[in-house]
């Protein structure tokens, strides 16, 4: 693992990228790592591109934002366009395969650009509401900063009270996490 991992997660406001980022850095912090997360959005209540800048490291972290990410995850057409600027030669650029009309906006080589069917998997196999957890699983796998078990602990911390009321939700979320990781395993 590299000493510092920089992640830019972007989607439409309401898609849950900020929640995913929150769980991700919580898990990292609980594992004793340095973590920094900063949300970025405009004045609108809903809609608009919402970006989460996350950094996880073994050492003290510098500026809250960065020039180029190790991993970019873009979940809407606008997010793809907005986040192309964070892709550099070392970046893995992930986007949801269902997004259309962005063929000309995706960053070109040497950026590694990969489409993953996260939305489809969430809709067809799981539940649309766990789309962001699928993304969380994909992020974990793509960065390799933590194990799925460590993230499950963080999920438990955040959603444990809901899981208590409905244990099926736990199953669903864990499944979503694992499916997300598998999607990355298949393309990377």
């Amino acid at each position: 693992m590299a000493k510092l991992v920089k992640i830019a997660l972007a989607g439409e406001g309401g898609q849950g990228v900020q929640s995913v980022a929150g769980i991700l850095v919580d898990a990292a912090y609980d594992e004793g790592k340095e973590a920094l997360y900063i949300p970025n959005f405009g004045v609108e209540q809903r809609g608009g591109v919402s970006i989460a800048f996350c950094q996880i490291s073994d050492e003290r972290i510098g500026a809250p934002k960065f020039e180029k990410a190790d991993i970019v995850i873009a979940l809407s057409d606008r997010a793809v366009r907005r986040c192309a600027q964070y892709a550099g030669p070392e970046t893995v650029f992930l986007y949801d395969a269902s997004i259309t009309g962005i063929e000309d906006d995706l960053p070109g080589p040497p950026v590694k650009v990969l489409g993953i069917p996260a939305l489809k998997v969430a809709k067809d196999e799981l539940h649309p509401r766990v789309f962001n957890v699928v993304i969380l699983g994909a992020t974990i796998k793509a960065t390799g900063v933590m194990t799925l078990d460590q993230v499950k602990k963080a999920l438990e911390k955040k959603l444990g009270y809901k899981f208590e009321q409905n244990p099926e939700l736990r199953e669903l979320n864990y499944k979503a996490l694992e499916r997300g990781a598998e999607l990355i395993g298949a393309v990377l």
Partner: protein
């Protein structure tokens, strides 16, 4: 007395606004007055959630002018009081801030800078430096701490109350939208456990006893009748300000001794400068950084000392030269060339600084 909000010390992972609320609680603040504005809102949210559990109070006012004046009112009767604001709210609050200078009111203000002018962005900038240091009518008799990390945000929130109450000038913690919204680890603590004693608060008005009988009456006025009278008052304020200056000024100078190029920055940009300097040093470039922690009073002598061997200064800020104006005024007479790197309203990464320094060295 309610149980201490923090026992000993504790490692936490939270947003900067939450850090400020905990800092004020640890500093035994009695009350926050405030009016919502992004990116400062959550100071109020967290404070109003924490305060009742610890016997503290919160008052939401009708606007920022009122939030400023009520903070002064609370402070005058001896409450450890504070408020927080940002951007256009900071503009509105200048009148009470200026009154606090005239009355020597030890009120504490937390500023989370957003973009300007006007509504602009709710995200981030360093464009409230001029406003926070010299915003009122008058001479800027204020103390302004500019923080870079969540740890400093906690430390200086506590310190702001003590500096204010010891020296009786309005005191500011100047952070920004990034610091307000980002989450990072820090250690929060009970000041007493660290040997920090809170300076006791005393009422100016509403003291015990009958005025004129048991004690002399207190007469507060911010109105002066003649030019000469005002001149004496301002000269008195100036003398008091100059007296506390050396005790209060703070700075950080890193790798400046042998540096050929010194990055000058403040606040959150310091984080990028820190990373940049370590990368540049690894590449064999003699770089350092100087950072005023107090923007007011400015660490004039330490800065002159730190930069004297440098061949060039690189001024880096997320504003169009607001820090640069303070710096140039302070180092008047120095002939070291200054290269500006002004990025109004936008974040500055360590990569950009490294690139700029490398282009200057060539």
């Amino acid at each position: 007395m309610a149980e201490k909000p923090i026992q000993g010390e504790k490692r936490v992972f939270m947003t900067g606004n939450e850090v400020v609320a905990w800092g004020a609680l640890a500093a035994q603040a009695d009350i926050m007055y405030g009016y919502p504005i992004t990116p400062q809102n959550e100071i109020m949210h967290y404070w109003s959630r924490l305060a009742p559990k610890h016997g503290k109070k919160f008052l939401q006012t009708e606007d920022e002018i009122s939030a400023g004046f009520t903070t002064i009112g609370g402070t005058i009767i001896g409450a450890r009081a504070f408020t927080g604001t940002s951007g256009p709210g900071n503009t509105l609050m200048q009148e009470p801030m200026s009154m606090a200078e005239m009355y020597r009111v030890p009120a504490v203000f937390i500023i989370q800078q957003r973009g300007g002018p006007s509504t602009a962005t709710v995200i981030y900038s360093q464009q409230e430096v001029t406003l926070t240091t010299f915003g009122g009518n008058g001479e800027g008799y204020r103390i302004v701490y500019s923080t870079a990390t969540h740890q400093e945000l906690f430390d200086y929130t506590i310190k702001a109350f003590n500096t204010a109450w010891k020296h009786r000038f309005p005191t500011f913690v100047l952070a920004d939208g990034y610091q307000a919204k980002m989450r990072e680890p820090l250690t929060i603590y009970d000041p007493e456990a660290k040997g920090i004693e809170m300076v006791p608060t005393v009422p100016t008005l509403g003291k015990e006893g009958v005025p004129g009988v048991d004690r002399p009456p207190v007469h507060m006025t911010n109105t002066r009748n003649t030019e000469e009278e005002l001149y004496e008052v301002v000269k008195g304020l100036q003398a008091a300000y100059e007296e506390m200056w050396p005790e209060v000024e703070e700075h950080e100078a890193v790798e400046c001794e042998d540096a050929e190029i010194i990055i000058v920055c403040h606040g959150v940009v310091t984080r990028s400068a820190r990373v940049a300097v370590s990368q540049l040093r690894e590449a064999g470039i003699k770089a350092g950084y100087f950072r005023p922690i107090t923007l007011r009073p400015f660490p004039v002598e330490p800065m002159k000392q730190s930069i004297k061997g440098a061949k060039q200064l690189l001024m880096v800020e997320s504003a169009q030269g607001q820090l640069a104006r303070l710096v140039k005024d302070s180092i008047y007479g120095s002939t070291i060339p200054i290269e500006p790197m002004f990025r109004p309203g936008i974040g500055i990464s360590s990569e950009e600084i490294v690139e700029k320094v490398q282009s200057l060295i060539k």
